[in-house]
Structures are given as C-alpha cells and as structure tokens.
Symmetry: C2
C-alpha cells in the first residue's frame, strides 16, 4: 500500500453526543447535540506509555479551517508522540444544537446555551470520553488555543486542572474585561504599529478622519466619497467608510506576518504617493495595497455576515463584553466605550442584556499576579506585542509555572501557526521556549506519576 | 445604652437579587430570586485595613440553624477582626426561586436550577457584591463549610481563587463519588466505631439483622416486630425496621460528641442487658438509649420529610450521586450500590436521570494528590476518623498548602462547631492548627499585597 496521499488522511472526524446544558437539570438541558471533533493518532505513543494528548480548543469559527492553522500541534506531535485532538466550539461549524442553525440562532431561548462555561464543560466531557475510550486516563493533556480560544485554554487549565495538565494560551486577552485593561489598549497598539513603520503614514492616517468628515459634510459629499473609494454600494454615512477603513487597519496590525505585513503595505503605498495626491487619495492607495485590486470595495461588512460574525455577535452581547474604544491618544478619532448604548443595542438585537461583569466574576482577571502567584500552574501566556490584543494579555510572568512569553515583533497567534521555512529567529525562539516548558511539565508529570 | 441583650443583635439579615441561571442566557435564566445572607460586622477591622472576611457557605438546610452552629466563625472573629458572612444555599430556607416553595419543587423544570455549580456561582456573586459595597476589594476571604458545605468550600477555592483566598473544608467527602472511595467506606467506619466500643455490642448488632428477618418471616412476624419496637404504625416490611435502625446507628457514629456519644449509649445499653434478654430486646434497649423514651418510634422517616430531606433527595438524584453501600465486611447485611436501580428510582421520582459522573468531571477527585500537588493552594481538609464520611475525605496532605488535618477521635464537622469549656485536648489542638494555618495565609497575603 502506498502512503496516504493526503496530509489529511490521518485526521478522523468524530461526533460526540453532547449535553445541551451542563449546569442545569431541567428536562430540556438533557437534550444532546452532535459536537464535532477530529483526531490524528498517527504520531501517538499510545496509552501504554501514557503518551500525551494535545487538544486544540476550537474558538469562534468552524473547525475545518482551524486544524490546518493550528501548526503547533502538528509540528510538535512527532517530538512528543502526541495524540492530536481538535474540538469544535458549540454553535459553530457542524456543532450546532437544535434541529438547524436557523433554529439555534432564532432567539435568546435557543441561543442561551451558547456560553463560554458551557463550551469549556463540553471540552471537559469530550476529553474525558476520549481518554476513557482509549484507556488513556494517565496520558497528560495539553490544551492549546489562540485569541478567544486562548482564553478558553487558560480558563480550562484553571477550572479543570484534573483534565488538562497545562495550557498554551496564545494571544489571549483575558484582561480585556471590566476595564482591567485601558479601553484604548487595542487602538494604541494599532497606532504604535503604524507610527513605528512611518511617522508620515501615521500622520496621514490620523488626519484622514476629519478629511472624510469634511468631504462628507459637503453637498454630494457621500457620493464623492463612494466614488473615490469605489464602494460597491453608495455609502449612507461617513461612519460607514471610517469603520471600514478602521477594520482594515486593525486587521493589518493584528495579523502582521513576518513574511510581509499589511502595515508595511499600507504605509509604503501612502508614503510612495506623489506630494500632489490629496489625503484621501493616499488613503485609498493604502487600502488597495492592503486589500487588493477589486472592481469595488464592500464597505458594509455586515451585508454578508460570516458564521463567525454571527456567533461572535451573540457572544459579545451575552458575556464577552470587551470595552474596546479609540481613546483620546491614538491615530483614530476619539471615542469611548458606551456600555449603556452597547447594552441597549444587544437588548434590541437579542431581547436579553449582556452580563458585562460575569467573565471577571467567573474567571477573575483583577490583580491577576496577586491572585495566581500562589495558585495554579502550567499556563503559558504567549503574545506578540505588535498584536493589538496583546494589550489585554498577560505580559508579565505570574509565577515560575505561569510564564508570559512575548516577542516584540510578533502578531496575533503567530506562535501556534504552522512553522515555515523563513520564520524569523525570534519566532523560532519563542516556539522553542514553549516546547521546552511543556517538555518540563511532562518530565515533572511522569516523575510524579511514577512516584504516585 | 446597655450592651445588646441578645447574642443575635449583631447579625443582620440581607437579601440579594440572585440570578436564576449563571451559565445560560435564555430569558428565563435572567429571572432573579431573593437569596438570604446574614452579616455580623461587630468584630470587623474594616476595609481600610483590608481586614478579613469569613464566609460560611450554607449547605442542605435553612440558614437559621447553621449560624449558631458555625462556631469556627464566631469564635475566631475577634482574633482576626473578621467580618462574618453566612449565605443560604439556593432552594433552602428563605432562598427559594420561583413564587413559592411548592412551585420550585413541583417538577424538574423548576428544580433544574438546583445544582452545586449554580450554588457556588451564587456565593461568588454575593461575596463580590458585599466586597464592592463595603469597598473591601482587598479584604481576604476565607470560605468555611462542613459536610456538603465543606465540599462547596473546597470546590469554591478551586474554582474561584480570585474570590476566596482559602477554604476550611470540614468533613467534606469530596472523594465519595464515582467509586474513588470503596462503596463500603462509610459503613466500615460505622462498624469500626461500634466494634472499638465493644466487641459484644458489635456482634449483637451484626447478628440482629438476620434475627429480624427470621421473625419477620414468621406468621404475624411484622406485627410482632412492630410491637417489640413500639413502632408508631405497623411496619410493612422487615426492611423498614432495618433501615430505621441502620440510620440510628449511622447517626450515632457520625455525630459522636466528645461529651457523650450515641455509640457508647447504644453499646452500654446493649452490653448492660441481662443475658436472658433476646437479641431484639437488646437492640430495642440500644435504640431507646440513643433515641430517648418515646411512646412510639416513627420508623418511616419519609412520613414527614424535612426540608433537608426533600432538597437533598433532589440533589442526590441530579448530581450528588454518592455510591454508599454496606459492602461485604461490615456489621450490616451485605448490599451493594445498584446504580441502575438508583437511576430508575430518580427517573420515576423526578422525570430526569442523575448524572452520576458529573461531579468528578466538574470538580475532579481521581488521583487527587497527583493532580493537585502542583496546582492550587490554601484548602484545609479537616476530618475526624470516627465520622463515617471521613472515608471519602482527604486524609493525606496533598501539598504543603493543601493540608489534611484529622483527629482519630473526632466526628462529623466537630472542628467548626462552637468551642465548649470541656472540649478535649485533641479537638482544641486541631482547631488551633487550623487557626495557625489560616493566620499564615493572611500573613503571606498581606505581604504579597504590600509588594503588589
């Protein structure tokens, strides 16, 4: 027989009958839904040697695209002889409760089961199920996640230490709740990223907002702007265009890749225009260089909300209330986070109010060093300082066993992406440290297990 | 003004508008109910000095009776200048969701919110509310509980380390789930307690069960037994009488007090009868000596179930599934725990099935030393080895900061009861160690706080 021709041949899909509500015993809570997970046992050393299990905790997207990008697992499976498991987050992908996605998303009564605590308990149940099925009760489990998934990974180790030996929480802004992090943290980093690239670019961007306002306030101003920015449909307000540009800059900063980042592309384009070009002309050049050459630009992102948009919209309107605002000292127009307005919008959209203080009540965050210096262990908080979300991450080690590892040059979740031939040294070094730390967890665990 | 004439004058009652379901965002989950808690600030050093807060976590009873018996709090409040808080468990006492107790207990749809995770989250919310109200965010919180409340205390520290600095978990059988503890653990201790008192007494008790069966199988046997044991109504099976005697022996063993315990009373009575008395005559003498002189004995405990009986019945039928059985080598007739029958009984009673593996999935328990030796801190597991529930308790220290403190002579929750003038030395010593350990937690915390 030939070797499998596809790199995906070793990845097998499973479905678990998952409990709808883990914390409630109403008859409806017992309803189950099919939750998808994927396993790759190609490199696994097996239960006999208590070989480890790496579990990728799915976040706000279908699992399909996450498996390929969770390079930390596949890259390190051979070294650790690890079983690889990827679990899809409830309400995403094929892991939808109720009879259809339409029904699940139809109202707060069906969406109500869509919460981080339920998701974490799902992971607990599936990991226990897998370990039991494989008689791998002694195999140490490492949970890995990025961004929201990174928060889940950190919280999972804190809440279920009996199920996960450790967690790699990549780019997890667990401190971006309840104003633990200043509201302008995110946009300050975006601004810094651009300013460090080019002072001229930064100033151009900074001036552009009032220029958009000025043009918009003229007769036919919105029509002029629509033409200049080649929008797919006429814009109906200046905000529409500004929000669109805003999100492009954020994306450029957040996902800056070592092999060529959006911030550079935007600034090179802006700085490269002739002095005769007006500000908005420069801004458009920047947009095109980042976004590509299109016949038109779809400024209204919510025309075609993705599954992630829809799911995350509910999540932010229930518990993931992250007060992110422009603040007063960024390259964006000053704007604060209006909690009351946010709550009202959510109420209008879903009929229920967010619980903006729940995440810190349930998972903590305030005074995290004081609280966790003498409690808990085995979580790596990794960040890249070019990532705007790093402003809400853990950047100082809490204790020896709760280390923070950041790179100055890194962006969002870079360390858990697949390693590439041209990866820079600082990234290779970050990953190597993570692997070393996890190796030490295993060494300690197997020693403890032998002495047990 | 004279000093307050009542010792209760300093205890003030409050009600918190508590969220019905913390982990779900259905509109119904937002319903609130009034949850009772009591505070005594007489000894509190105040927020300015970050003086500590002791919180008693209510268990399966109305709060009323718990405050007086939670002596560890009132006895130590002056020394620690501690604020005392007592919180009632949802679905008990005056902390009943829905419009009435009848409605709350009417079916699984209203009972479904009655779970340990919800109860613990209730405590988290109320403690945060109190701290915020008193501007006492930096005051360290110690949670205290006994038996089921002791489990809640241990679990609270594990799940909410950002809210409680430490826990005193008295007589908490957190390992009596999922067969971590042998099923006969409880009855083995009961038997040992009797046997250590008197071999003759133990043998008499051991022989009595088959004697009851023998008499019951005779014509009019049940009527004979009813008369001999002066039952308030005729018994309808031998089991009824045996279950009643069983529960008396368990109570005698569990609540053995240093100032005179039921095991001694029963055995002294049994051993003191003349040799002419038959076995069941001896048994009845033992019962009377323990239970008191009554005109009749109500063998059917479920004729008048208490609030605790009714609440705990739901709790054991939902998640608190403790597989306790006589086993093969006790002074009781051999009997194993039949999970299938238990599940079926619960289904019949409530329409929903227990989740017998949930407690260990949510809170752990297996290999507790391996798991927690390098995770978590500041939980005292206290036990008395004469307490049958100690068989499911943590009797070996897990780590330096997760100590187990037991006494050979102690019974159920003895250490947290009010201290008495004639308390034995071993009990005084146990409490003193607990106070020392908690003092050290505070010392460490205030040092950390100052360096923070």
């Amino acid at each position: 027989m030939a070797e499998s021709t596809s790199q995906w041949a070793d990845y097998k899909v499973y479905y678990h009958n998952q409990t709808l509500d883990h914390f409630n015993y109403r008859p409806e809570s017992y309803t189950t839904f099919r939750q998808r997970y994927v396993m790759n046992a190609k490199y696994w050393g097996g239960a006999n040697t208590s070989a480890p299990i790496f579990v990728y905790l799915g976040d706000e997207a279908a699992l399909d695209f996450q498996i390929g990008s969770a390079g930390f697992l596949s890259d390190n499976a051979p070294k650790f002889k690890a079983l690889l498991v990827y679990i899809e987050h409830r309400y995403y992908g094929k892991s939808i409760p109720f009879s259809s996605r339409e029904e699940a998303f139809s109202n707060a009564s069906t969406l109500g089961y869509f919460s981080s605590s339920q998701a974490i308990a799902d992971y607990a149940e599936i990991i226990l199920h897998i370990k039991k099925n494989l008689s791998a009760e002694k195999s140490p489990v490492i949970v890995v996640g990025g961004s929201y998934g990174g928060m889940l990974a950190a919280w999972f180790r804190l809440k279920y230490p009996h199920i996960a030996l450790g967690a790699l929480a990549s780019s997890a802004p667990i401190l971006y709740f309840d104003d633990i992090t200043p509201q302008d943290g995110y946009y300050s980093v975006v601004s810094k990223d651009f300013r460090e690239k080019s002072e001229n670019c930064y100033n151009t961007l900074k001036q552009s907002w009032s220029e958009i306002d000025r043009v918009a306030s003229q007769p036919n101003g919105l029509s002029i702007l629509s033409k200049q920015f080649m929008t797919c449909s006429p814009i109906t307000s200046a905000s529409q265009l500004k929000d669109y540009l805003d999100s492009n800059y954020c994306e450029a900063a957040q996902y800056a890749s070592p092999s060529g980042d959006g911030v550079s592309r935007i600034c090179n384009a802006i700085d490269g225009t002739s002095n005769h070009t007006d500000i908005l002309g420069k801004i458009f050049k920047g947009l095109v260089s980042f976004n590509g050459n299109w016949t038109c630009y779809d400024v209204n992102a919510f025309n075609n909300p993705s599954e992630t948009d829809e799911g995350w919209s509910w999540q932010t309107c229930s518990e993931m209330v992250m007060p992110i605002a422009h603040g007063n000292d960024t390259m964006f127009q000053a704007e604060s986070f209006d909690l009351d307005a946010f709550v009202q919008d959510c109420k209008n959209a879903y009929g229920v109010s967010p619980r903006p203080h729940w995440i810190t009540a349930e998972f903590g965050g305030d005074d995290i060093k004081l609280i966790l210096e003498r409690f808990g262990s085995n979580i790596i908080f990794s960040n890249g300082l070019k990532d705007p979300y790093s402003s809400g991450g853990v950047l100082k080690s809490i204790s020896k066993s709760l280390p923070a590892i950041y790179t100055t040059e890194g962006s969002h979740c870079l360390d858990i992406l697949p390693s590439l031939p041209n990866d820079p040294k600082w990234l290779i070094k970050q990953r190597r440290r993570e692997v070393e730390i996890i190796s030490n967890w295993f060494r300690q665990y197997y020693t403890d297990l032998a002495n047990h």
